[in-house]
C-alpha cells in the first residue's frame, strides 16, 4: 500500500482525537481522545519505519534503517502507560472531592 494511505488514516485518527479533546466535557472521554492521538502517532511511526526500511533495503539487504521508528513506539507506549496511571489518579482524586468528572467545574481558578 502507498504510504499516503497510512498518513491519511493517522491524520484522521489524530484529528478525531483533537476534536474530541476540544469539544467533549467529560474528563475520561478527553483522556481517551488523548490516547487516540498517541496511538495515531504510533501507527504513523510504524508506517514510516517500514517505508524507510524498504527504501534502504533495495540498496542494502542487511540494512537496519527504520528500526529506530519502531523502538520509539515502545517508548511512547511506556510513557502513555505512566501518564494513564497518573491521570486516572488525578481524575479519581477530583471525583472524590466533587463527585463528578465534568470539566465545566474547571473555572473556579479564574477568580
Amino acid at each position: 500500500m502507498p504510504i499516503n494511505y497510512y498518513i491519511f488514516l493517522a491524520l484522521a485518527l489524530f484529528s478525531i482525537g483533537i476534536v474530541g479533546v476540544l469539544t467533549r466535557r467529560n474528563a475520561i472521554i478527553i483522556f481517551m481522545c488523548i490516547e487516540l492521538m498517541l496511538n495515531a502517532v504510533n501507527l504513523l511511526l510504524v508506517a514510516f519505519s517500514k517505508m524507510h526500511y524498504l527504501k534502504n533495503a533495495a540498496a542494502d539487504a542487511m540494512t537496519t534503517a527504520g528500526t529506530d521508528g519502531q523502538l520509539f513506539v515502545f517508548f511512547i507506549m511506556v510513557v502513555a502507560a505512566a501518564e494513564v496511571s497518573v491521570g486516572l489518579a488525578i481524575i479519581v482524586m477530583m471525583y472524590r472531592n466533587i463527585h463528578s468528572v465534568d470539566i465545566n467545574f474547571l473555572n473556579r481558578l479564574k477568580h
Binding site: 502517532v41 514510516f48 517505508m51 520509539f72 497518573v86 488525578i90
Partner: protein, 458 residues
C-alpha cells in the same frame, strides 16, 4: 552522565527514606545532602571526572552548555530546598515522596539539557511533566489544587500528543531522530511533512514553556498548585524547557532560521505583551508572579529569535537571574498568610532583612542596573540586535520591561511606604542566610557576569 544516573538513584533512595526514616528533619537533610552530592558530581564531570562511561550511540551529548546548565539547575534546587523544604510539610503527609519526585524531575532536566535525539527530548519532557502533574495536585483536599492538576494534566498530555505527531512527521521526512542528521538536511525546499512537523514541535514546546498564545494554562496552574511547588515549577523547570527549546532549534532547524524567525518574533511580541499587561491588573502576588513568568519567558524567547553566541550565553545568565530572584520571592511569599499586595503592607518594619532581600529580587526581575536581571536582559537585547533586522522587536521589549517595573514596584511600595500589620512569620537562621546568599549572588552576577559565563568556555 554522572548527574543523570545519580539523580535517578537519589529519587529511588528518597522514596524509600520515607519508610525507613521516621523524622521529617532526617528526610529533609538527606534530600539536601543528596542534591549537594549531585551538584558536586556534576561539577566534577565539568572538570573531566566521569564516573559512568556509557555509550549512548550519540543520543546524548554532555557538552559544556549542558553541564553548565545542569549545575545552574542543581544550585537553584539546592537553594530552593534550603529555603522552602520546611514548608513542604504543610502540603501533605507524603513528605519524602515530594523530594523523590523533585529528584526525578532533575533527572528529566539532565535529559532535556543534553539530548541529541528527539527520542531523548520526548523522554526528558515527559519525565519532567509527569511528576509535576502529581506535585501540582499534591494538596489532595484542596479543590483549587485538584483543578490545577487536572487542567495541567489534560493540557500537558494534549501538547505531548502534538509533539509526538511533530516528531513522527519529521521522522517521515528525514528518516532519523538524530538532531544533527535533521540539521544536516540540505534540500532547498523542505517537504510539507517537514514543515508541519517543525510547526507542531514548535507549538508543543511553546506550550511547555508557556509562550503566548499557548500560555493560558500557566496562571491557573501556577495559582492553584501549592506555592512551594509553584516556585520549583516556575523557575527551574521553565528554564530547562527553554534550554531544550534553544538546543532543538539550534541543532536541528538552524538551516531554516530565515523561515521561522519572523514567526518566533511574533510569538515573542505576543508573550511580552500579554504577560506584562495582564500582570499589571492582578491583585494577588502569586498570580502576578505567574504572569511575570510569562513575561520573562518573552524575554527568553529573544534568545531563540536571535540564535547566536550572545543568545546562548545570555540564556544561561537569564536562567540564573530569573531562577534565583523568583525562588527568593516565592520563599518569602510561602511564609505569608495573605497573598494579595495588601498583605505586604508594612512588611519592612516587621522583617527588615526579608524585605530588603525581596526588594533586591524584585529589582532584578524588573531589570534595574547592578543586578543580574539587568545584564541578562541586556544580553538578550544585544543578541536580538546582533541579527541586524526587526529593530522594532528590541524597542518593544524595552517598552515592556518598563511596564514590568510598575507591578514589581507595587510590592516594594507596599512593603516600605504603606502602613499595615502583616501577620508575624517564623524564620530560621538557615532561611535568612540562604536569602542573603541569594541576594548577594544576584548582585554579584549583575556586576561580574563572567563569574558564570567563563565556565561556559572552561
Amino acid at each position: 552522565m554522572n548527574a543523570l544516573l545519580l539523580s535517578a538513584i537519589l529519587g529511588v533512595v528518597m522514596m524509600f527514606s520515607g519508610i525507613l526514616l521516621k523524622s521529617k528533619a532526617a528526610v529533609r537533610n538527606l534530600a539536601i545532602a543528596g542534591i549537594s552530592i549531585l551538584l558536586l558530581v556534576n561539577i566534577l564531570e565539568m572538570s573531566g571526572t566521569v564516573f559512568f562511561r556509557i555509550d549512548t550511540k550519540g543520543m546524548m551529548a554532555f557538552d559544556n552548555f549542558a553541564l553548565l546548565f545542569n549545575s545552574i539547575a542543581f544550585i537553584s534546587t539546592l537553594l530552593y530546598l534550603l529555603l522552602s523544604a520546611r514548608d513542604m510539610e504543610k502540603v501533605g503527609v507524603n513528605y519524602a515522596e515530594y523530594f523523590a519526585l523533585i529528584f526525578f524531575i532533575l533527572c528529566g532536566i539532565t535529559l532535556t539539557s543534553s539530548f541529541r535525539s528527539l527520542l531523548i527530548l520526548f523522554l526528558g519532557i515527559e519525565i519532567i511533566s509527569i511528576p509535576l502533574y502529581i506535585l501540582t495536585g499534591s494538596d489532595k483536599r484542596n479543590l483549587k489544587s485538584n483543578e490545577a492538576s487536572l487542567k495541567y494534566f489534560l493540557l500537558g498530555s494534549f501538547s505531548t500528543g502534538l509533539m509526538l505527531m511533530g516528531i513522527a512527521l519529521i521522522y517521515g521526512a528525514i528518516g532519523s531522530f538524530d538532531t544533527s542528521v535533521i540539521g544536516a538536511f540540505t534540500g532547498t525546499t523542505p517537504s510539507a511533512l517537514l514543515i508541519a512537523g517543525i510547526l507542531l514541535l514548535l507549538f508543543s514546546m511553546a506550550f511547555k514553556a508557556s509562550v503566548a498564545p499557548f500560555h493560558f494554562w500557566t496562571p491557573d496552574v501556577y495559582d492553584g498548585a501549592p506555592t512551594v511547588f509553584t516556585s520549583f515549577m516556575a523557575t527551574i523547570v521553565k528554564a530547562a524547557v527553554f534550554i531544550a527549546f534553544i538546543r532543538l532549534f539550534d541543532e536541528s532547524f538552524g538551516f531554516q532560521q530565515k523561515q521561522w524567525q519572523l514567526f518566533i518574533a511574533i510569538l515573542t511580541v505576543a508573550t511580552l505583551f500579554i504577560g506584562n499587561i495582564t500582570a499589571v491588573f492582578q491583585q494577588s502576588v502569586k498570580r502576578m508572579l505567574a504572569y511575570s513568568s510569562i513575561a520573562q519567558a518573552g524575554f527568553m524567547m529573544l534568545s531563540l529569535y536571535a540564535m547566536n553566541t550572545d543568545a546562548k550565553e545570555g540564556l544561561l545568565l537569564y536562567t540564573v537571574a530569573y531562577s534565583f530572584a523568583t525562588i527568593g520571592i516565592f520563599a518569602v511569599l510561602i511564609k505569608m498568610k495573605d497573598y494579595t499586595f495588601d498583605g505586604f503592607n508594612g512588611f519592612a518594619k516587621q522583617q527588615p532583612l526579608l524585605a530588603a532581600t525581596t526588594t533586591i529580587f524584585l529589582l532584578s526581575l524588573a531589570g534595574i542596573p547592578l543586578t543580574a536581571g539587568f545584564l541578562s536582559k541586556f544580553y538578550m537585547l544585544k543578541a536580538a540586535m546582533g541579527t541586524g533586522k526587526n529593530l522594532w522587536l528590541v524597542i518593544f521589549a524595552v517598552l515592556m520591561a518598563a511596564v514590568s517595573v510598575y507591578y514589581y514596584f507595587r510590592v516594594i511600595q507596599a512593603m516600605y511606604f504603606k502602613e499595615g500589620n502583616p501577620q508575624p512569620i517564623e524564620t530560621t537562621p538557615v532561611f535568612k542566610w540562604t536569602l542573603v546568599v541569594l541576594a548577594a549572588a544576584v548582585i554579584l552576577l549583575g556586576i561580574f557576569p563572567n563569574l558564570l559565563l567563563s565556565w561556559y568556555y572552561f
